[in-house]
Symmetry: C2
Subunit: 217 residues, 2 copies
Amino acid sequence: MDDNSSITVPEPTLRRMPSYLEYLKLLERRGDKHVSAPTIAKALDLDATQVAKDLAYTSITGRTRVGYEVAPLVQALRDFLHMDQRVPAFLFGVGKLGSALLQYQGFVDFGLDWVAAFDPDERLAGCRVGEVEVLHPDAFRAMAPEVGAKVAVLCVPAEVAQITADMVVGWGVTFIWNFSLFPVKVPKGVFVQQTSMYSNLVVLLNRLHGQKLEDQP
Amino acid sequence: MDDNSSITVPEPTLRRMPSYLEYLKLLERRGDKHVSAPTIAKALDLDATQVAKDLAYTSITGRTRVGYEVAPLVQALRDFLHMDQRVPAFLFGVGKLGSALLQYQGFVDFGLDWVAAFDPDERLAGCRVGEVEVLHPDAFRAMAPEVGAKVAVLCVPAEVAQITADMVVGWGVTFIWNFSLFPVKVPKGVFVQQTSMYSNLVVLLNRLHGQKLEDQP
């Protein structure tokens, strides 16, 4: 969003942060006390200058010859990523993908706090997926202002992505994570993150089938 | 891979293909017979010239004033994506993410045919996740040459991603889809697709927490 430019961290930097954290946590478990930027860079197949630049966004800087202290850097990364702050989140569309995401511990570790999930399928009403209750989408209306719902995750069929987005934005959501295959249009001030589970698979399969063609005599 | 350059379709084009297919299938269900590039572009928030260029990678071209015929274009996209060809695939690491991916119908629709899943946890041995049997990783050795295993999906803990990659490459795998947070190094001729479930979430949460800071007086 434009109005956040003053505190914007570059997206590629953000995207690398979970890998830094994962690597630092590994070092911590191994009992390592210090690590240098070049060592991190080698492990994660990155450039050492880039690593130092990325990590400078946390409050921690490495010291010459000593490098970074592992434990404080782990905490600085967790703080930078706000991992200890719970973010109430609502999921729409409890199909195969929606169910999987609700049960995925990794998202919970990063702060997502599933308040409820919604699906119009009456057979799902009142069911629980993991620990999350499934409700009819109409229930969101009553719930949204009460909990100050800001984050909605859309796993609905593509053709209802837009009406679902309109509905949640109407009830105060300003951050949409859209897993459906259609883009959604939102008013200014609403942030949409589009994620496709298929895009990387399609690239891999294209290369695979391409190779097969070439292998043929 | 370098040796595929002669038949390489640009990655951004490939990544858009599932959305085209989803939209065309929607039109087909609605009974629409024809659609123009500008109409597709509008629905998917793309540029019409780009749409025409992307779709030209299938064998189908649109006709002036008529546009594309919907049904043949659906089939051309399916053919282009080789969706009717089953690709034997093996998953390593049956944790929360691995289990979710095994049960995700979307990947099956795109051609992934799960032959088996592997996890060293003895409590999982012989279990089924969905319809897929979980075996000890050692079993891959006997199975790989028999079925001509080419595709491995890694959902293992980051610290064992590299040894798992080395192992599967040693037994003939040439396409690795790596969901672990550490990159894997592979010999020339092996294609790796790196996917992080966290990267988009981290961007979204960063913008969210950034906005909160600004909202404070």
